[in-house]
């Protein structure tokens, strides 16, 4: 049974396609277009080694014609397909950029809401208070105390609102790797 499966050409063909697809996705997500294009090229070339599968992917004409003749015969179709591929790719890249920015914005809003929760503001105030107690520099200690008071006040007012007093603390939190 296993021998039958392993000797079937279609099994290896589709296994190869799946593996190559996984690699392409990986390289695309890692922003490595060179590796992605190389993997794509090897996938196209590997099709030549599986003539029994040409029919299933719409290349059955290659059985009757040589590759140059087949290319000449289907030149316009191929050009149209490549053109459509490029246009769709540009449209998709734009849409994907929008998705990325939306994802980032959602992440930001989610984190902001969590940070502005009254409980988190109180714990931030305590954290800043302890920073102030341990700090030897006067200006920095004053700043921490001021921030701690602002967090306490904001928590007492119910939180969930980024006031002018909280903005420098939130900026510090965002720019300083979520640590104060």
């Amino acid at each position: 049974m296993l021998d039958d499966i392993l000797t079937i050409e279609s099994f290896w063909f589709w296994t190869l396609m799946i593996v190559q697809s996984g690699l392409i996705i990986w390289f695309v997500e890692e922003a490595n277009p060179v590796a992605a294009v190389l993997t794509l090229g090897t996938s196209v070339i590997s099709i030549a080694f599986f003539p029994s599968q040409w029919e299933s992917i719409g290349l059955g004409g290659l059985h009757e014609l040589s590759l140059p003749d087949w290319l000449k015969q289907n030149a316009w179709v191929l050009l149209a397909c490549i053109g459509c591929y490029v246009v769709i790719g540009i449209v998709w890249a734009t849409f994907r950029w929008w998705v990325l920015v939306r994802e980032m914005r959602d992440t930001y809003e989610l984190n902001k809401a969590e940070w502005l929760a009254p409980g988190n503001l109180r714990s931030t105030a305590r954290q800043l208070q302890s920073h102030a107690e341990q700090c030897s520099e006067t200006a920095l200690r004053e700043k921490y105390l001021q921030w701690s008071e602002a967090c306490h006040l904001a928590a007492a007012e119910g939180g969930n609102r980024l006031t002018q007093e909280l903005k420098p603390i939130w900026k510090e939190f965002v720019t300083n790797a979520s640590r104060l």
Binding site: P33, G89, W92, A93, R96, W98, L100, M104
Partner: protein, 229 residues
């Protein structure tokens, strides 16, 4: 994902979040464009952009419907509002309105200091109060009913004054924001409860272009004073 913006970190925090610049992410965008079939599969499986598309479409539809209902109900809300929002004024009108508000607010501040000083200074308590035929101006009352001192009363309505020179040819775009509930100060409290007179009776006060009066304006239709005592 972006080299300086790791997905794992982004989902756990906002560390070092900056505005993404397409010029810095050329490799990523080219990858998306070249290998778009694989990117489509992965994006739809992992990021589920349908929620963004749904939210976007829903918000656009809601905005359009809100604008429709707002435009259709503007007149109705103006009719039903007790303190109707002032119309956007041109500069000349706004200046007139400010002068009127100042004039009306000045006696009010005097009244606050020494009540009952509601009747005009020249009228005697046993005489009939001065006639005020001009209609009551509600928008002026809205402007007065703030916590600001009398001198600052015109500053209570900055949004209805367009930033436009008097000789401008085309009217400048006018911004308007919905009126906020006015706090009750001395003037509005007087208007609400009236002022205690020498005979011990409380009589309502009315705001007229000439100041605060104890008599309501004459109704132009009936030629009578409403609620006249």
């Amino acid at each position: 994902m972006l080299p300086d913006y790791k997905t794992g970190r982004a989902r756990n925090g906002v560390d070092g979040l900056t505005r993404p610049d397409p010029r810095e992410q050329t490799a990523q965008i080219v990858s998306w464009a070249i290998c778009w079939p694989w990117s489509v599969v992965w994006t739809f499986c992992v990021y589920n952009p349908f929620r963004y598309i749904g939210e976007f479409v829903l918000r656009e539809i809601q905005t359009a419907l809100y604008e429709i209902s707002q435009s259709e109900f503007t007149g109705i809300e103006r009719d039903l509002a007790l303190d109707p929002p002032p119309f956007p004024l041109r500069e000349s009108e706004a200046t007139e309105r400010q002068a009127m508000v100042k004039q009306a607010a000045a006696p009010a501040s005097e009244n606050q200091a020494s009540a009952p000083a509601v009747p005009p200074p020249e009228s005697q308590p046993d005489q009939a109060p001065e006639q005020h035929p001009a209609p009551v101006d509600n928008s002026a009352a809205v402007a007065i009913a703030t916590d600001e001192p009398a001198e600052d009363a015109p500053a209570a309505q900055p949004q209805m004054m367009p930033q436009q020179s008097p000789d401008a040819q085309s009217p400048a775009p006018v911004t308007w924001s919905p009126p906020q509930p006015a706090p009750v100060n001395a003037v509005s409290r007087q208007q609400l409860h009236g002022v205690k007179h020498a005979d011990g009776m409380y009589r309502p006060t009315y705001l007229s272009p000439n100041g605060v009066s104890t008599e309501p304006a004459i109704d132009p239709w009936t030629q009578k004073r409403p609620h006249s005592q």
